[in-house]
Symmetry: C3
Subunit: 143 residues, 3 copies
């Protein structure tokens, strides 16, 4: 990938659309589809203290485990992303740093917006194809 402004602009739009589908997968609990947005050996760490999940099968297991806390809880979650800043790296990958808010809604309730996070992604871009090499999510309320 070249790093001209034009190609970076195009990539920015492509990454944003990639994230949209990815988060629809996550929020609809299509974990296999979410895991498939990572490379085969992709690493997913949803908070700095958590053990990173390595590989798609481990990512699915991690998500199944994480969502058990919502068993019997009629909750809808929506992951919002904003301010996607891309930085091409010397090794050909692309760093993507993104603001994230999680919107949580329960029947008859008002949206709760918590936590505020920063998503630190490393993207592998192969032509029209984007995959996550790694994702680390930091939480803004943890200093």
């Amino acid at each position: 990938m070249t790093t001209t402004t034009r190609s970076l602009t195009e990539l920015h739009s492509q990454v944003q659309h990639f994230y949209a589908h990815q988060m629809h997968h996550l929020d609809n609990r299509r974990f296999e589809e979410y895991a498939a947005t990572f490379t085969e050996d992709g690493v997913f760490q949803h908070s700095p203290g958590a053990e990173p999940a390595r590989g798609r099968a481990a990512i699915v297991r991690e998500l199944v485990e994480f969502h058990k806390k919502f068993d019997g809880d009629p909750v809808r979650r929506r992951h919002w992303f904003n301010q996607i800043a891309l930085e091409p790296q010397a090794d050909g990958t692309v760093r993507s740093t993104v603001y994230a808010l999680v919107v949580t809604v329960r029947p008859g309730g008002k949206p709760e917006i918590n936590p505020s996070c920063t998503v630190h992604d490393v993207l592998v871009v192969d032509g029209d194809h984007i995959r996550l090499k790694s994702r680390l999510v930091t939480h803004d309320q943890v200093f």
Copy 2:
């Protein structure tokens, strides 16, 4: 419209800009301009229980009616959109599924963010021209 990643990426950016102008129209209560973003026979249903408004004149009437509840209420509303996921359909239309939050602000007050919705659009794309064939808004707090 072809459905290559490149053209879909371009369309994603175009749709996002289309929505920006559309929501500025709505939040500034330029209802004629909002209605003009629909096809002549466009259908607008702002919640699953509501009777759908069919055609631009009906959409304007629906919006005038809806906003009467704000008469004498110095409120500003801002519609936020996020995670626009496009899916080209076999009939040439494009499905667009979008997260939405409504931000409400009154003089001297703090923003209230409610409700959280999902916008289900069907877009007609004719070259550089986008129009809404239909919009259905579902509300996340209704299960």
Copy 3:
């Protein structure tokens, strides 16, 4: 700059990415980098009642001054942007009108989202290069 839909779509994506980096600069208190996103004689007015800062040095001073109120306050701020609506002007500049929310988080706390603003920018676009000629921020709770 031509104002075809295609070039405007591309510019929309480019502006969005420009804002992402700019807001990461601001929220990480890299004020020199933030000021460098303005033209040499750029004007920054963060609220209608404030004296506008003219030129990059003045913009840096304004931001240093503004952030003194957070001295000793372990706060993280995140500026969210949405619904970026571009309007090319006869003089070759581009008006950009943007919804903004400020997310504030303190250790162990929940995100506070306040205020809701509208950002009124005038952009100078020179090929792949974007700079802010002026920015005026209005606050939605002030009527």
